[in-house]
């Protein structure tokens, strides 16, 4: 065990863990965050996604000691009590079914819009490809991303 310093959602934390511990378990079990969840532990499904340095990172395969820079989780997207446009779009489109994977959908979409504010449909599909959902909410998730990106195209209108 050793002391690891983490900057998460604007606050600094020190945790006493094995440095090889995947970031996911520190976020969930030491910091009591609920956005990132365990899905596969293999970096295949995106359910555990957080944003570090602007990139969507799979926290289930990221050793906590390797984290340098600010970590943003789903909880950190809202600012001053106001939801992020993606979160608002998610509610507007009613994008979730069970919702377990939606952290991965939203955080992957956040990283996409941060680097490409107006993605084409093809770019959305490509960027979101690794974000799995077993309720199959993809169609509404894509609509929500278009909505958040400023397009108000109804589902299916996009190319």
């Amino acid at each position: 065990m050793s002391i690891v310093k983490l900057n998460v959602n604007g606050a600094t934390h020190e945790v006493d863990v094995d440095p090889s511990t995947p970031l996911l378990y520190v976020l969930r079990n030491d910091l009591d965050l609920r956005g990132p969840r365990f899905g596969c532990g293999l970096g295949q499904c995106s359910v555990c996604t957080v944003i570090i340095g602007g990139a969507a990172v799979r926290s289930c395969i990221t050793p906590v000691s390797s984290v340098h820079g600010e970590v943003t989780t789903l909880e950190g997207l809202s600012k001053n009590g106001r939801l992020h446009p993606l979160q608002e779009a998610w509610i507007e489109e009613q994008a979730a079914q069970c919702g377990y994977c939606q952290n991965g959908q939203i955080m992957t979409a956040k990283a996409l819009l941060d680097r490409n504010p107006h993605p084409s449909d093809a770019e959305i599909r490509e960027a979101m490809e690794g974000a799995l959902c077993r309720c199959m909410t993809f169609y509404r998730v894509q609509a929500a991303i278009r909505r958040a990106a400023g397009g108000s195209k109804a589902p299916g209108e996009g190319k």
Binding site: L33, C135, M136
Partner: protein
């Protein structure tokens, strides 16, 4: 109010509201309940919502024949509804609130809903079979109507006015002739008990004296209220079952047999003693788990633990590549009595044209995105399980039996979780957590790993079908033989204390393995001469096997409908008839039934064709077959029903003849589930049900060698992805009642029906595009490419 259990906000708010009420004084004054109140927030709430009863433990069954069990009116003129259901993400919780609000005459945003807590909410069985709204919404409406009736009576006394002269709006009763004279529900009963007995021999028959409103008077039902559970799901604030934590909680992980049917020979505990936080290995029979202080420690210890296993004497199952051959040859464990209509033998003999075909669907998994999990708290001689199990009530009963505890000492608190489309491994994980917690005397959180979820969750049964059909000289179908064979012997039911995985691994066995089942196709087609036969086969190993079958979203419907609706398409092609016209002709000849399935089927199939813009012609598309384009396009239809809900789906696909990739570019669904409670929730459920079916059509296949499942992660068990998503999905809700004599339109289930016809619709569209008939699912690129090459397409 402090909330040591960290319950989800809805439940927490409901409990806080309850304990602030004056009802607390009433109940504390009732003696024994004062003790219960001190136990915890949740058991306190139970005491508040229910009449006191003698019980063998702290968790007696809520009495569904007491109005107070279902509805509490608070002093702030809001209400909490208590229902014995769960919501797997289809928005049924929102629908329940809408239905109850309408009957109670209270605004939607002035209500809360508590679901699936076995000591608080009446036992409605949890979820399953698309029955939530259709069956279990009825008592909810009736008890809310009864509450309104009782409140009107109280209001009449309060206002010294006959009830007929009163009306209600937004939980406020007023005198029709003088709307300034009002009394609110809260003023009448806020914080007090109704003390009204209900009647009904079963929970779904529960009723008071009041009648529910006619459909025409419903104002909240029929509106697209946003789901209340989505905002806390997208901002990360909701506490799910997977997030539950308790003081002194520890983490467990399972160590599964490396080969199916293996016998544990030994455990070398020294192999994990150096793992930081290691607490114990707990093992009984072939069940092994490790427990550590921290989650990542438990994961490490489970991987590191050295165990020795002996392989079974005989191979537990054939490899997946040999599965269908095995099933064709296997001696059935049971055979259903053939269903015969007309004289099929004579009809086949006299027919102008006879065709036959075989179809196959492999095992497909739940493969939940969130591996199975639960937290069990064994404190004070009771057991509380926090789980997303959709059948909280049988979970409670099953765990109590398994642990040898009185039911009244066991409760299950349902919380949100990953998808629950039937008998998932959530059942198994709850039993494991409870067993380990009892052994250890500390709260234990269990979660399965990905390979465990994919490898050991329950599977939808593999099927092989043989169909034979005959056409007369006019190309009309005159005879049909349908034979279904399902690898479904020892099909698991829900939460059985002798069939959950831990029980099997410990060596427990029920007296008889379950027979298993498959189905006859559901359609209204008039075909005069029919023979339907069904048989079940078993794999060599039926216990402690990862190829356990259990209900998976309309348990056999997608498989059966794939075979049947593909074959109907083959008959249409043989008759050189348009696939939709061919179906309509058979539907026109059908007899009407009590729920108007004939008229509704015709309306649904026509609506799908209209919404798609279907041009009438036979399949395959002659232009597509003649072209040398890289991408061929086709359309295919499939129609079916599940119980009272009717569906027709049209898929438009692109088939890449160079890669074999199939993309469903557009899906159109016409859907009739009677009265619609929430159109947007319904749209989304229908849409996601279709895409789940599309995933099973294109990707899903459990693969195994002769000793273990080999499709154990998202690379080896691929599932639908963003790139597979259709460009357009159009849903038409064809909801109407063709019976003018019926006073009311009932809502029917919608959780599964749109899932059912997808494999068939895609296969039929691929045929239309290419002239190649795909008879084995899933339609992965390599299989499609091989089929195209085989026919030189």
């Amino acid at each position: 109010m402090s909330n040591p259990l960290q319950l989800p906000p809805e439940l927490e708010a409901a409990l806080a509201g309850l304990t602030r009420t004056s009802r607390r004084g009433f109940l504390v004054g009732s003696g024994a309940l004062a003790i219960t109140l001190s136990l915890s927030a949740a058991s306190g709430a139970k005491a508040l919502a229910q009449a006191p009863v003698a019980s063998a433990g702290p968790y007696p069954d809520p009495d569904f024949l007491q109005l107070d069990t279902w509805i509490v009116i608070h002093p702030d003129n809001t209400a909490t509804f208590y229902v014995g259901k769960t919501d797997g993400g289809q928005g049924t919780g929102t629908a329940f609130r809408q239905m109850m609000c309408d009957e109670l005459d209270i605004a939607y945003d002035k209500t809360r809903l508590v679901m699936g807590c076995t000591d608080i909410t009446p036992d409605q069985g949890g979820s399953g079979g698309s029955t939530s709204v259709e069956r279990d919404g009825r008592p909810m409406r009736r008890v809310a109507a009864e509450a309104r009736r009782v409140l009107l009576e109280l209001g009449g006394q309060h206002l010294a006015t006959p009830v007929e002269m009163l009306a209600v709006a937004n939980a406020t009763i007023f005198v029709k002739s003088n709307p300034d004279r009002t009394v609110t529900y809260a003023e009448l009963i806020g914080g007090k008990r109704f003390n009204i007995a209900l009647t009904g021999s079963r929970v779904d028959l529960t009723t008071g004296k009041a009648a529910v409103k006619p459909v025409g008077d419903l104002r909240v039902v029929g509106r697209s209220h946003k789901r209340y559970d989505i905002p806390p799901k997208v901002d990360g604030s909701l506490r799910w079952a997977v997030d539950m934590k308790l003081p002194r909680m520890v983490h467990a992980r399972n160590v599964r047999p490396p080969f199916a049917g293996a016998t544990l020979q030994g455990i070398d505990e020294t192999s994990v003693r150096d793992v930081p936080g290691f607490i114990r290995v707990i093992s009984r029979g072939n069940y092994v788990a490790v427990i550590c202080e921290r989650e990542e420690q438990a994961i490490r210890a489970a991987r590191q633990l050295k165990t020795q296993w002996q392989r079974p004497a005989a191979a537990p199952f054939p490899a997946s590549s040999e599965l269908f051959d095995y099933m064709r040859r296997a001696t059935p464990t049971s055979t259903s009595e053939p269903l015969v209509e007309g004289d099929p033998d004579a009809a086949f003999k006299a027919a102008k044209h006879v065709i036959e075909a075989e179809f196959a669907v492999p095992f497909q998994g739940h493969s939940s995105i969130g591996p199975a999990h639960a937290l069990a708290d064994p404190s004070d001689g009771q057991m509380t399980i926090y789980t997303n199990d959709m059948k909280a009530y049988s979970h409670r009963t099953g765990v109590a039996k398994f642990l040898g505890m009185p039911r009244e000492k066991v409760r299950v608190i349902y919380m949100d979780g990953p998808q629950v489309y039937g008998r998932t491994a959530a059942d198994d994980a709850g039993f494991e957590a409870a067993f380990l917690a009892k052994e250890l005397g500390r709260p234990v959180r269990m979660q399965w790993m990905r390979d465990e979820e994919a490898g050991w969750d329950t599977k939808g049964p593999a099927h092989v079908f043989k169909l034979r059909g005959a056409l007369d000289e006019q190309g009309k179908p005159v005879a049909l033989e349908y034979d279904a064979c399902a690898a479904d012997y020892n099909h698991l039911w829900y939460n059985e204390p002798d069939t959950v995985l831990i029980a099997q691994l410990m060596g427990l066995r029920p007296a008889q393995p379950a027979k298993g089942s498959t189905e006859a196709p559901t359609s209204m087609y008039a075909i005069a001469n029919r023979r339907t036969t069904r048989r079940i086969v078993g794999l060599p190993l039926i216990w402690e096997t990862p190829l356990r079958t259990g209900n998976l979203r309309d348990p056999n419907g997608p498989q059966v409908t794939f075979a049947f609706e593909s074959f109907i398409d083959e008959l249409a092609a043989a008759a050189k008839a348009d696939p939709i016209q061919f179906r309509l002709d058979m539907l026109e000849q059908a007899k009407e039934d009590a729920v108007f399935r004939k008229s509704r089927s015709l309306a649904v199939v026509r609506a799908a064709a209209k919404a798609y813009g279907w041009d009438t012609r036979p399949s395959p598309n002659p232009r597509a077959a003649a072209s040398r384009d890289k991408v061929l396009t086709g359309r295919g239809v499939a129609y079916t029903y599940r119980n009272n809900t009717i569906v027709a789906v049209i898929a438009e696909v692109e088939v890449n003849r160079e890669t074999g990739r199939v993309w469903a570019k557009r899906l159109v669904c016409a859907h009739d589930c009677g009265l619609v409670i929430n159109p947007e929730c319904l749209h989304h459920t229908v849409e996601c049900g279709m895409l789940h079916g599309l995933s099973r059509a294109l990707w899903e296949e459990v693969q195994f060698d002769t000793e273990k499942v080999t499709s154990v992660n998202w690379a080896s068990y691929p599932s639908l992805r963003h790139s597979d998503t259709p460009e357009a999905i159009d849903i038409v809700l064809v909801n109407g009642d063709p019976n003018p004599g019926r006073p009311d339109l009932a809502p029917y289930g919608a959780g599964e029906c749109s899932h059912k016809p997808l494999i068939a619709a895609v296969a039929n569209a691929v045929y239309d595009a290419t002239g190649v008939r795909l008879r084995q699912a899933p339609f992965r690129s390599e299989r499609v490419l091989a089929a195209l090459r085989a026919q030189s397409i």
